[in-house]
């Protein structure tokens, strides 16, 4: 099962960054995200997998597809970089990947045999609102403020200029 998911992730990642049709690239990205959720299921973090499916596959991909439909024609083929830039980028990223893989290979990880902490919805919810050891109340609050700020920012940035003027007149 792991090898199937890994193959899906790698093949569809390559297709995402090389596909000439932008809408297809978005659908390939959806497959990558769903396979990643599969990996989380494999690791028995079911809550995280559910969040990955709802927020990434359900939210971000839909947002991306909407913006594609707003900004380009479906049949339009995206402009890709020239072959020179492509080859140079492939060389640079290939070298980076090789270096990182070598570093990982030479480092010995010692897997722990400690009992696995359960991550049911109850555990996750309790940890998110408790403080102290194994409590994540502060990051939870910070993220909620960040989400509020992002929401307001997105509304203000995407608002039309005309609305701004009429509002000023009313004031």
């Amino acid at each position: 099962m792991f090898f199937f998911l890994a193959l899906m992730i790698l093949v569809f990642s390559v297709l995402t960054v090389t596909s000439r049709k932008i809408l297809r690239a978005a659908v390939y990205l959806l497959f990558v995200l769903i396979s990643t959720a599969g990996i989380y299921f494999l690791l028995e973090y079911t809550f995280l997998a559910a969040v990955q499916l709802t927020v990434y596959a359900g939210g971000i991909v839909v947002l991306i597809i909407f913006s594609i439909l707003l900004t380009s024609h479906i049949s339009e083929r995206t402009v890709v970089a020239g072959w020179k830039q492509g080859v140079l980028s492939a060389l640079a990223t290939g070298a980076g990947a090789l270096f990182t893989l070598l570093t990982i290979y030479r480092f010995t990880f010692t897997p722990s045999s400690a009992p696995t902490a359960t991550s049911t919805v109850t555990d996750v919810g309790t940890a998110l609102v408790s403080t102290g050891h194994n409590g994540f109340a502060l990051p939870f609050e910070v993220v909620s403020v960040l989400l509020l700020a992002a929401m307001i920012g997105a509304i203000i940035v995407a608002r039309r200029e005309n609305d701004n003027k009429t509002e000023n007149k009313q004031n």
Partner: protein, 105 residues
């Protein structure tokens, strides 16, 4: 369910995914596809966090919560990024990075 699968296999997958994302970021010209490459990069980092949590410190859930928060930040980043892209499209009628070459029009 992960017996017999070493930690290295997960790390190889996430490393390759990370560099595929960087390759896409370097070669794409369209702002939305560049955003999709960023999503790939963030996703590979999430896999790393979760796998380290599961294999090296299974008694804690730090990596799990870090991934949750990265997902939330990625959602916020995508929302603001797409708002900016739509605003750019409104001003320039294009979202190719080559044609967006001034901050004010």
């Amino acid at each position: 369910m992960t017996e017999g699968i070493p930690l290295y296999y997960f790390l190889v997958v996430s490393t390759l995914m990370f560099f595929i994302g960087i390759f896409g970021f370097l070669t794409r010209k369209n702002l939305i596809t560049m955003l999709m490459s960023i999503e790939l990069i963030l996703n590979s980092v999430n896999i790393n966090f979760v796998v380290f949590n599961k294999y090296l410190y299974p008694q804690n859930l730090q990596g799990h919560f870090f991934s949750l928060i990265v997902i939330a930040v990625a959602a916020a980043e995508a929302a603001v990024g797409i708002a900016i892209i739509i605003n750019i499209y409104r001003n320039f009628r294009s979202i190719e990075v080559d044609r967006v070459d001034q901050m004010k029009n």
